[in-house]
Symmetry: C2
Subunit: 733 residues, 2 copies
């Protein structure tokens, strides 16, 4: 294939002879530097766009040291400490924290710090405690604690080391490198810092006429990343706003919102408003407040970049808090594009679905680093895994660009790897070329995911630290991972959206997660308006699919508040006296491609059918793992969990069709008979992009209408033999 473009490659000095050929072969039209590499002088002669990384909120140690009051803050909570039988209680607030990252901010502690009796939830009055010492010796003494009550101290602290730079520093042992310093950040709300940010960016742009794209990494406030007293990660929340706080910001908030924020509004019992917590009013307001501030300031920086004729590309991560790319403010920033790391199909869609930017770019794995590109490493295997994960998402909603990062000089030592990423680049471009910029056809079934966050956190559910595996999330994330490659138009809707009638625009709604979390919904399921809205939606023919502990909050004899729709509930110990006679019905439309057991991951505990009208499709050790239930004109489906696999993705595909009452249409949707194969149909082009997601050869049958996914056309059948990992364009007309 001779196509070119849509690919960014890292380059470095000392490879001048090879670079033109490498870039030409892979079809790269843009280059970038990486951490620790510099663009060679030949760059301007390569005929490609040039990206360069820019850090607005750190990197100038001279300014940082001269303006220590511009350092960003954290709100932190001390350990939980139990008071003795009598006498005062001394709490060393820095216990468990890293002195090189954290320093208590001792200014006006009575306003900003808070001591809470966690046994009662009461705040200890400020005259009941005092602060002594500083740094690691900072001690809060509670004069007269209640005997054997547990206390915590919430304290404001300076960030004395930028979190990402600290991570790189400690991971790469830069302490042995005398040219490295521990970089201190600065807060965009500080007037001098902001002035410095804008003037530095102007100067930087002026000094770099060769740069076409300013790659912001990122803007102002880092996601929450705190280290422990051994310098190891202590707390990580990729969505955390804890590092966006400051007295200045809180004062501005109070002036605008008319109420005063407490330390507890940020510390949140030690949960720090992580995304699994149902967001409080104060925290929602804070996101709104910081989002508007950050986006306004981002716009100012982007305007400067544009003045110099350059593009502004935002990295999705690091100091990205407050940008909220799916929020309403983001369009106002004028950012040209967003680039992010692709760790799965869902994280790929998290990038490619961002509205209001001209282009999105996925940075693929593996990073060209010595850990993988070494004897015994398997860069080719990692590239294949990464491509198979993301290809199905790209075929559904393409990224505009892909790219790699790291040291090209390492990668060229692995010619099979270079061959493979060349194929990948061609395969990627073919989706744009054959698809002619159109999206593949979706089923007309409109699917919604209902949680507390709604559209603002599209594709950002059940995530702690980007794409990392956590025991409590993988059984839910599989739903997103499946949907990322399935032919459905997906909306993320909030409970407020549901109260406002949003279900009218949907055919099937999913509620996925653990009881009490923002993803399941917590006490929203005690709101009869929400319950009535969903029941009405189902009664009119809609479908509800619950995964894990959907609609769960114990009340009035039920744990799943929509047990009447789902046909199942969870045994918490209170209803064991009720006899159950579960009967499994293994044959059903939903399980037609799943002859054996269902893998539900961690599972959801003891799930039981509420009555005989519930069809139990999979039963394990007496507990329901999959159930289908007709309720009025509509349908409920329950899944105890859905870790990602080809089989589970197909199961969800079918479950959505069944929940929508559309199972009769399924046979003519070009859905391959083999669940390891998927197809994206481009009706205008009359073509289908068939993907073998497996690392082995497979044979499969496709059947669909010549007019595309739906409609009245003739049903054709095709039999295909596919090589391992093969993708193939086929004619459907």
């Amino acid at each position: 294939m001779t196509s070119r473009g849509r690919v960014t490659m890292p380059i470095e000095q000392g490879m001048d002879d090879q670079l033109p050929h490498i870039l030409q072969r892979i079809g790269a039209d843009a280059v970038r530097n990486s951490d620790g590499t510099w663009l060679p002088e030949i760059t301007s002669q390569l005929g490609v766009k040039v990206y360069e990384t820019y850090f607005p909120a750190r990197g100038n140690q001279e300014f940082a040291l001269a303006n220590l009051d511009a350092r960003p803050h954290f709100y932190l909570m001390s350990e939980r400490v139990t008071a003795p039988a009598e006498g005062p209680l001394a709490v060393s607030v820095m216990n468990g924290y890293y002195a090189l990252q954290i320093e208590p901010d001792l200014g006006d502690v009575q306003r900003w710090w808070e001591v809470i009796d966690r046994t009662t939830g009461e705040v200890v009055p400020v005259d009941g405690w005092s602060v002594a010492g500083e740094g690691t010796d900072t001690v809060v003494t509670i004069a007269q604690p209640a005997a054997f009550h547990v206390y915590t101290v919430s304290f404001l602290a300076w960030q004395v080391w930028d979190s990402t730079q600290m991570y790189n520093y400690t991971t790469n042992n830069w302490q042995d490198d005398p040219t490295r310093v521990r970089e201190i950040g600065y807060d965009a709300r500080h007037p001098a810092a902001w002035e410095f940010m804008t003037t530095s960016l102007r100067r930087w742009c002026e000094e770099r006429p060769e740069v076409d794209v300013v790659r912001f990494t990122t803007f102002f406030y880092h996601f929450t990343l705190v280290f422990n007293d051994l310098g190891k990660e202590k707390f990580v929340d990729w969505f955390g706003y804890s590092a966006s706080v400051s007295p200045r910001a809180m004062d501005a908030f109070e002036a605008e919102y008319g109420y005063r924020l407490r330390a507890e509004d940020f510390v949140d019992q030690g949960y720090y408003n992580n995304a699994f917590q149902v967001p409080s009013k104060a925290f929602s307001d804070w996101i709104d407040f910081q989002n508007r501030f950050v986006c306004a300031r981002v716009k100012d920086l982007v305007d400067i970049v544009h003045e110099y004729g350059k593009e502004a590309l935002m990295f999705l991560g690091d100091n990205w808090m407050g940008t909220e790319p799916y929020g309403e403010q983001f369009a106002t920033t004028g950012v040209d594009g967003v680039v992010g790391s692709v760790g799965s199909a869902a994280t790929c869609r998290m990038i490619s679905d961002i509205p209001s930017v001209r282009y999105t770019e996925g940075r693929f794995l593996p990073y060209f680093f010595p850990d993988v590109f070494t004897e015994g490493g398997d860069p080719l295997g990692e590239a294949n895994v990464s491509w198979l994960q993301s290809r199905r998402a790209i075929a559904r909603k393409p990224l505009e660009r892909i790219g790699y990062g790291g040291y090209l000089s390492l990668a060229v030592k692995f010619p099979e790897f270079m061959d493979r990423i060349t194929q990948i680049a061609d395969e990627f471009r073919s989706i744009h070329e054959v698809g002619e910029g159109r999206l593949p056809q979706s089923s007309s079934i409109r699917v919604g995911i209902l949680n507390c966050w709604g559209a603002m956190r599209s594709w950002q559910t059940h995530m702690v630290a980007h794409a990392l595996w956590y025991k409590q999330i993988y059984s839910y994330l599989g739903v997103l991972e499946s949907l990322a490659g399935l032919p459905f138009d997906l909306k993320f809707v909030s409970f407020d959206d549901v109260r406002g009638g949003a279900l009218d625009g949907l055919d099937v709604v999913l509620n996925v997660g653990a009881a009490g979390t923002a993803f399941s919904g917590g006490d929203n399921w005690l709101d009869s308006d929400v319950l009535v809205a969903v029941r009405g939606f189902v009664a009119r023919g809609g479908g509800l699919i619950g995964v894990g502990e959907p609609t769960a909050v114990q009340s009035e004899g039920a744990f799943f508040q929509l047990s009447d729709v789902l046909g199942v509930d969870k045994e918490l110990g209170f209803s064991q006296s009720t006899d159950r006679y579960p009967v499994e019905s293994r044959e059903h439309f939903i399980t037609e491609d799943l002859p054996g057991a269902l893998n539900v991951g961690e599972g959801a505990g003891d799930i039981f059918a509420t009555g005989d009208a519930t069809q139990i499709l999979r039963l394990q050790d007496g507990s329901v793992e999959l159930a289908a239930h007709q309720q009025g004109e509509g349908r409920g489906v329950y899944l105890a969990g859905l870790p990602y696999s080809h089989e589970n993705s197909r199961l969800l595909h079918r479950a959505i069709y069944w929940a929508a009452g559309r199972e009769a249409d399924f046979g003519a949707q070009w859905v391959p008979s083999h669940p390891g194969v998927e197809v994206a149909v481009f009706p205008e082009a009359g073509k289908g992009f068939v993907m073998n997601n497996l690392m082995e050869a497979v044979s499969t049958r496709l059947a669909g209408r010549t007019t595309g996914l739906e409609g009245e056309g003739e049903v054709r059948k095709l039999d295909l033999d596919l090589e391992p990992m093969e993708s193939r364009w086929i004619d459907l007309a």
Copy 2:
């Protein structure tokens, strides 16, 4: 062995020649009839006591049919029914119920019935619904239900068939036997019924001079046992008071307690106040109210029995509600003894620990019924299992008597079985003879089990239907089953006891169960008085052992409210952002007899250590299954579950010693080195009763002080080789 006595055997007609020899050989000193058998005429010449079964509240169909208003009641809840988009909602209250057992009581429905909107919890005013039809056609129509809200109807119903007789009838297909009728019960609160009960008992006693012991089966109110529309068990609660309700009783309650009971006080969202529910004020009052009534009436019946020179023996089960053998009222009844079915060590202790009776008797398994005593059946194996389970409990706290039930004519066809139960009878008597009526020595560690029920439900925790296995209970019941044979003095204490200072009398307290249940404690753990009492107890050197979800209720940043004592908490999804670096320490005093993995049964989900001070003794898939934690002068131990096994019982034995800070004493307690062997030490006799609990031969070492379990004596060591299941008396002096 030539000992005799302490054994009750079932006899029947047609075996006159064999009976004297059989009874002599097994040493039986009492005989009984069984369901469907009659005592032979020879009985009075056998030189044994004679038991005969008596049913005060059923059995006379003539009276029952003439006094239908004396039938007992149930409070029942209809199905949960979802209202349509518009129009009235008709609820067929009998859906799912069995017409042969249940008949709606249509008297004054506005007073006694209740319609509840389960979506809001609100009661629908009585003028908002009406009742039509009767029997299975009874329909409640809610005139203007809120669209898509869920409704239930709580209704009072007549019991038109006694629950136990119904069970026997349907199980044994008595519908084919024209001599059988469906027996209707009568309520002791009904004046005519009560009059009938006393006069019939007098007459019965008069007519049966040969009977020495009246075996009451049982008194007035059956435990809750409801059948579904197919005649299968629908709801079973061995502790349920639902069948003790009536308008007469509720009126009397109101007069005495000054408040009016609602249907919901009994229906309880459909949970019917089962023992896993934290008891409400109204339900606790109801137990108190019925307990006093039942015990007063039992006393009247017992007095009659005594007048005729007979003994009154109560069967622990069936119509036993309101007797509460561990309650304060029970001693007032004058009942001479209690007999119950032994299904485990814990159920054995549930009988043998009953205070205030002269004797207790355990009915052993297998029952001499054709299901087991047939070709392919294994009566010998069942007898061995039953004896091994109960022997360790008997050695700790002997039953005064044992017995069997069923058809002796079946059992004698299995001579090996008859030999074995003869051995068992001898072994049982030896405990009384060698022990000389004294209890074996206990450790001086005083152990308490803390739950909402306290002493009133001693040995009656985590149970749904007598000794039956349930998925949600076996991981907790193993704690009781272990303790039933361990050398500790055990108290069951309630949260009110703790508020009253009961922990002062204990060294180690256990909290065992699932979050929210009465056994874990639910919202009691939000009471700072309780928390402070336990923390103070531990701070002064006490031990807290938590199993499953101890002290659990989500509040102020913790799920286990005593996570500071236990050193662990449970991840519900809210604290995943906090990094954990669990390290397992497999070597510990507690696990010295458990080299391998720990079986925690169902487990308790994701348990994490709260800090480095917690010693994780067993870690599985990143979750803590066993942990030890020093807190102040005291100690906390956490177990994710403890299904019964010899190894787990030994683990608990050691955990209690460690929690009490007494591990240094453990080596001289005559604890066998093999966890499958146990010993009961009778210091006054200078002997130990060594039991091999396994069905295989084992070798073990014992070490202990010659003066008994504790004290200053010399430490001796003994090596023993034991046959399968062997028990042996050894000299310890």
